[in-house]
């Protein structure tokens, strides 16, 4: 029986790696993948705490998070596609029209 804290630590490490990826990388698609990684880290935390509480509600929430992630991936990739069609780049440093 693995301690719940170990799962929480694993989730925290994966989440921080996702955050670091968003900061380091300039490719919009890779930034998107890092966001997916963060969502998965949260899912792991949800399931670990759900087990430790002996309740199954956390797993239902993970189900909803997965659905929202799928919707987000579809819309986000469509945005990246249309961005590439207009600007011929997906480097986020060159897409700065709204940047203050």
């Amino acid at each position: 029986m693995v301690d719940t804290t170990q799962y929480l630590v694993l989730g925290a490490i994966l989440f921080c790696l996702g955050v670091a990826g968003v900061f380091i990388r300039r490719n919009a698609i890779v930034i998107f993948m890092c966001i997916e990684l963060m969502l998965n880290a949260v899912n792991l935390t949800f399931i670990a705490i759900s087990r430790s509480l002996g309740s199954i509600d956390g797993q239902v929430f993970v189900f909803f998070i997965m659905t929202v992630a799928a919707a987000e991936a579809a819309v986000g990739l469509a945005i990246i596609l249309s961005l590439y069609r207009r600007r011929q780049t997906i480097n986020v440093d060159e897409v700065n029209l709204l940047k203050w």
């Binding site: 693995v2 694993l10 087990r51 189900f63």
Partner: protein
């Protein structure tokens, strides 16, 4: 046994997450992310969530990552070039990892300590697909239906954004 599997999955997922960040080629990043997702699916199995492990493999490692790979190959990108004059980014990233980890440890520790007092008596049964479905179609019926509308909106949005030329 569970400990061994957990450590293997944890170490492999962290290593491949780091590789995903460091690889220049986005296709390699996507493949590393698939490995991370599969390791997380094994972790879900260890936690007794078989349904979510299956959904993780089918939806995340299958559908979503195929979508990512499709878009990467559609755009035919070159390897990412490091934009010069951005050495601060590594510093920001390092400090964000450090402070984020500390913050998350504190938060999850605090939440866990607060919750462990209210530990429920009911046991999570071994075959949990039925339990998840029962909860999904009774207590969380309205959110479930709202989710379907969200997916519809996402489909329409994706078609509007990516469908037409120009």
């Amino acid at each position: 046994m569970e400990q061994v599997l957990f450590w293997i999955c944890g170490v492999v997922s962290i290593v491949f997450a780091v590789m995903m960040i460091l690889k220049r080629n986005p296709v390699h990043s996507a493949l590393c992310l698939i490995v991370v997702f599969l390791c997380l699916a094994v972790s879900y199995l260890l936690l007794g969530a078989e349904f979510l492990a299956a959904v993780q493999v089918i939806v995340y490692a299958g559908a979503i990552m195929v979508l990512f790979l499709f878009v990467i190959m559609l755009l035919n990108l070159d390897d990412e070039v490091h934009s010069p004059g951005k050495p601060r980014m590594a510093l920001i990233a390092g400090s964000s990892i450090g402070s984020g980890l500390i913050l998350l440890f504190l938060l999850t520790g605090g939440v866990f300590k607060a919750l462990s007092g209210t530990r429920g008596a009911e046991k999570v049964v071994a075959g949990n697909t039925q339990a998840v479905a029962e909860l999904l179609f009774t207590k969380y019926l309205l959110p479930f239906e709202v989710t379907s509308i969200l997916l519809l909106a996402a489909i329409i949005g994706a078609i509007v954004l990516a469908g037409k030329k120009g």
